[in-house]
């Protein structure tokens, strides 16, 4: 356990150093600015840093194409404007207005998320774009019959900001205020990115369905992404409004949205230092091009296309300096590189010996008359199935027999048309996938649904999502509960990955899942399912695409899972050798119904089974 503590400390140490260095630069910057113009650019780049970091939460971390983002910036701005100007004669102190703006904006983000949480990809983009248009039209037109927003004339001449009696009106004071807030946003972003929330969002970005099947409450997480992004944008909006001393509908146009997106893209979606650099760069760059009018915009267009074509992950993320450094767990304790195969074989020797668990007699998972129809087609009809404690039960059958549909029904991805599914006697019919995982049933996918852009370690850590509880606040303030959970997550992840020996440890730890071999990706899927803490694993063709040696290895591994660790396993497999070796029982499906079940020996001799597999012999 020393290793984790040490590595965390060194990471914190490094982060702290960065933070101090940043503070020094930012504190010195206002005093070395050559003139008011550059001071303004310095300030406004801070606002854009905040804005880009907020968008980075929604679009970068969670991958949600939120085109209403700039509206939240506007909500913040106008909230500030209404609460500290002559518009309604309300003059609240800034320390009240700032959180109010963030909160109002957050609530709006939550509402937007709630209406569009079912929508994916392009449709989400369109709905949010529609919301943004509505927002702008309201800003423009809510000056009649009652003047609320000031319409085209906007609202201007705001109260001076006072923070504990300190008047903020000089450019330097604004620079401190803005960059102070931006710094908080940076620290918050870094913290949340490496937390369960950050990983949950990234999992949704990579593969929403797989995220749900790994125990991430996708609907809630998407809502929090919307709300989180909106909150940052709202706070940025309030500060921006005060800095500009006026707000107009044009401040929150589609063009601004495009600009902020470009910042996030340039920096690399989800890459916090990259996004900060992108925001600063894109605030400064136009200043050198301002004299060129339409040529400036033309070059933006070309740059955007070229960036997407040539550097789709962002210009800045390809600079190694800005990439996160890879930690090598096998190197941590001693500082020397240790051959990862050593770890593998050492573990092997210890683990092989004992067989602690055997099949029990208690029914764990029971399906009662479960049916599922798609339109006119019945994929599963009236299926009864019982899975006993610590049993290895294989489901076989020809293609189209309904095996994968069965898994989808159990894991809650599709609800059954009829029938009940009981887990430990409790009814889990119609539960969401993440609820099913939390209840103790995790799965893998036939056609591999890993979070390809995330490391092996992070893939596995996503599995812990449903077993941890820290909320955004305890993450942002780095409270003991969050620290403890992170530690436990890391330990558990390490334990599980070490079960696979050298296959997934060592330098593999930090490799992107997408870059692994096919067999290794299958292993990571199993590791991810195990990390959820579920005791029932649904493995969908775990040996598909593996060579004979690897098949033997995975066969043994599945046995170990039961024998040593007491997992209950429901398995779909076409490799009958594997099925014969490890199954306690076999269920044969054909055309959505159960033909027979029993021990492999008996099932294999069943004429119906032979017919289903080989067809009837016509004579």
């Amino acid at each position: 356990m020393n290793t984790t503590a040490l590595s965390r400390d060194s990471v914190r140490h490094r982060n702290l150093m960065w933070l101090i260095a940043g503070c020094v630069v930012l504190a010195a910057a206002p005093h070395v600015m050559p003139n008011a113009y550059w001071m303004r650019i310095f300030c406004i780049s801070g606002v854009y840093v905040m804005l880009a970091l907020g968008l980075n939460v929604v679009a970068g971390f969670a991958g949600l194409l939120d085109l209403a983002y700039v509206a939240f910036f506007g909500v913040g701005g106008y909230t500030f404007a209404l609460l500290s100007s002559e518009q309604f004669g309300i003059h609240l102190p800034f320390l009240l207005v700032l959180p109010a703006a963030a909160l109002v904006s957050m609530v709006c983000g939550f509402a937007l998320g709630a209406t569009s949480v079912r929508l994916k990809g392009d449709y989400l983009a369109i709905v949010t774009l529609a919301f943004a248009q509505i927002f702008k039209l309201l800003l423009l037109n809510l000056d009649r019959p009652v003047n609320i927003t000031g319409g085209v004339n906007g609202i201007y001449n705001f109260d001076m900001i006072r923070i504990f009696g300190l008047k903020i009106f000089t450019p330097a004071a604004y620079a401190y205020l803005i960059w102070g807030a931006a710094l908080l946003a940076i620290v918050g972003s870094v913290r949340i990115k490496s937390s369960r929330y950050g990983r949950g969002w990234q999992a949704i970005r990579e593969d929403e369905l797989a995220a749900a099947a790994t125990g991430v409450n996708t609907a809630w997480m998407k809502l929090t992404a919307f709300a989180g992004g909106a909150m940052v944008a709202g706070a940025a909006g309030a500060i921006f409004a005060s800095f500009q001393d006026s707000v107009f509908p044009n401040n929150f146009d589609f063009q601004q949205l495009v600009m902020v997106y470009c910042m996030v893209i340039l920096g690399g979606m989800g890459n916090v230092p990259g996004v900060v650099a992108g925001a600063v760069l894109l605030t400064i760059l136009p200043e050198f091009l301002r004299e060129y009018g339409a040529y400036r915009m033309m070059s933006y267009g070309v740059i955007l296309v070229m960036l997407m074509v040539l550097r789709p992950k962002g210009l800045l993320s390809s600079i190694p300096f800005l990439q996160k450094s890879r930690t090598r767990p096998d190197k941590e304790t001693t500082g020397r590189l240790q051959a990862s195969t050593d770890l593998y074989y050492r573990k092997q020797r210890r683990e092989k010996s004992t067989s602690t668990y055997q099949k029990g007699d208690k029914p764990l998972l029971v399906l009662e008359g479960v049916s599922r129809r798609f339109g006119g087609i019945t994929a599963i009809s009236g299926l009864d199935l019982t899975l006993f404690e610590r049993e290895i039960l294989s489901v076989i059958g020809p293609n189209g027999a309904g095996k994968t549909t069965l898994f989808n029904l159990i894991s809650g991805i599709i609800p059954p048309s009829q029938g009940r599914i009981l887990l430990n006697g409790a009814d889990i019919t119609g539960h969401r996938p993440d609820q099913v995982v939390r209840a103790g049933v995790a799965r893998t996918f036939q056609n591999l649904r890993l979070f390809n852009g995330m490391s092996v370690r992070d893939n596995t850590r996503v599995g812990r999502f449903c077993r941890t509880r820290s909320g955004p606040l305890s993450i942002l303030f780095n409270l003991p509960r969050h620290r403890k959970e992170e530690r436990e997550t890391m330990e558990r992840t390490r334990e599980i990955l070490h079960l696979f020996g050298a296959r997934l440890t060592g330098y593999r730890f930090d490799q992107d899942a997408g870059s692994l071999s096919y067999a290794n990706r299958r292993r990571v899927e199993i590791a991810r399912a195990m990390a959820t803490g579920a005791k029932i694993l649904l493995l969908d063709e775990p040996a598909a695409g593996m060579n004979p040696q690897e098949t033997d290895e995975i066969t043994e591994f599945i046995l170990t899972l039961r024998d040593r660790y007491g997992y209950t396993i429901l398995l779909i497999e076409h490799k009958l050798g594997l099925v014969r070796t490890i199954s306690d029982r076999v269920v044969v499906l054909d055309s959505g119904g159960k033909i027979t079940e029993g021990h492999y020996r008996d099932v294999a001799k069943n004429p119906q089974v032979i017919e289903a597999y080989l067809g009837t012999r016509h004579q």
């Binding site: 260095a21 630069v25 003139n35 085209v152 500009q244 146009d253 200043e287 339409a294 915009m297």
Partner: protein, 385 residues
């Protein structure tokens, strides 16, 4: 850690080195700025403003500039975004050789940047921003060669009520600051003059199909349709579609409609008999403007209504700078002072230009025209009495 320090040092170095070199010697160069929305929605009128001002600068430079120094005309594009407008303002303000600015022509951006220019005492002459409050803020740097909305609004109301003898008036305005404020001021004036049967609604510029809202107007059956839009093409569509729908009301267009090609020609006959107002007499009828008009049209195609004022404003600004430079050095305060001192400047607009203490155009007259054939025929001039 080392990298962090390295980064910190290099960023600081960059910040120090990054700014423009501060030049103190005024005689080494004279800059005039042009702040406007040269890309995006309002690019068309703004580019006309820029090209016209450029013509004026070119003419000055051709005759030796100011005190032998060539004048540099710098574009500051704000893309119709007030925040970028402020970037432009700060940039102009920070440029020590910058002695005056044409613009911003868009009211809300002028509003956002007012204090920045004002605190620096940098003279701004807008050619289109007509929001009354802009010259009511206590600064003395802000001038306009166009009339204010409140003056125009009352004059238009008077014209509608008195000259056109209307009892029922429909007002359609585009939802931008100029048009919206114009509508508000006109309706205020109409009510003061006892016309209360007023229908008001808005159009979206560039939407191109005004049938739905014009159907509403037709249903209201007004005597006069006051159609307030920035650009002539929208006015042309407005009058054409109104006639197509069979609206018989007198069509009164706004300043932007004084554009032969984009209003009279584009409406293809539908504009016949329509009225419109403008803050200056017909540019084509003024001898002094002949040179400018032909120079502009040869280079950039037909003029709409926005260019002449910009040409005039730039000439006024440059003569103020010229006057300030007479003693060898120029300060911004001198330029502002000389602008205030201008009495009855006679240029191409056909009206003598004098700024009052606030920077507004003295007089604030509104000229009314009627379309007859392919010409704008002068009807009357009202001065708010």
């Amino acid at each position: 850690m080392k990298r962090a320090i390295l980064l910190a040092v290099s960023i600081s170095a960059l910040l120090v080195a990054g700014g423009p070199a501060a030049a103190a010697d005024a005689a080494k160069g004279i800059h005039v700025g042009n702040a406007g929305s040269f890309t995006g929605d309002a690019a068309s009128p703004c580019m006309e403003i820029f090209h016209s001002a450029q013509l004026a600068v070119d003419e000055w430079n051709a005759t030796g500039g100011i005190q032998g120094v060539q004048i540099e005309h710098i574009m500051g594009d704000d893309a119709l975004d007030p925040a970028q407008g402020l970037n432009v303002a700060q940039r102009f303000v920070a440029d020590e050789r910058m002695y005056g600015v044409i613009g911003p022509p868009v009211s809300h951006i002028a509003q956002a940047t007012l204090k920045t220019y004002g605190r620096a005492g940098l003279a701004c002459i807008t050619t289109a921003a007509s929001k009354p409050e802009l010259t009511e803020s206590g600064f003395n740097h802000f001038f306009r060669v166009n009339a204010r909305n409140d003056a125009h609004g009352y004059n238009c109301a008077l014209f509608i009520q008195d000259t056109l003898q209307a009892k029922r008036v429909a007002v359609l305005n585009e939802k931008v600051a100029y048009c919206d404020n114009m509508a508000t001021q006109t309706i205020k004036g109409l009510k003061a003059l006892g016309v209360t049967d007023i229908f008001q609604d808005t159009i979206v510029a560039g939407a191109k199909d005004f049938y739905p809202v014009l159907t509403k107007v037709k249903n209201f059956n007004p005597d006069v349709l006051f159609f307030i839009a920035t650009a002539a093409p929208d006015q042309a569509i407005g009058v054409r579609q109104a006639r197509e729908l069979g609206i018989k009301a007198i069509f009164l267009g706004s300043e932007g409609a004084r554009d032969k090609k984009d209003f009279i020609e584009a409406a293809e006959g539908a504009a016949e008999g329509a009225y419109l107002y403008h803050f200056s007499p017909d540019i084509y009828a003024i001898d002094a403007a002949g040179g400018y008009v032909s120079a502009y049209e040869a280079k950039h195609g037909p003029l709409s209504g926005f260019g002449p004022a910009a040409y005039e404003a730039m000439n006024i600004l440059l003569s103020a700078i010229d006057a300030a430079a007479a003693d060898g050095d120029i300060t911004r305060a001198e330029v502002v002072q000389h602008l205030h001192d201008i009495q009855g400047y006679s240029g191409i607009l056909g009206i003598p230009i004098t700024f009052d203490a606030k920077g507004d155009l003295e007089g604030g007259a509104t000229y009314f025209f009627q379309v007859k054939g392919s010409e704008f025929v002068f009807q009357t001039v009202l001065t708010g009495k």
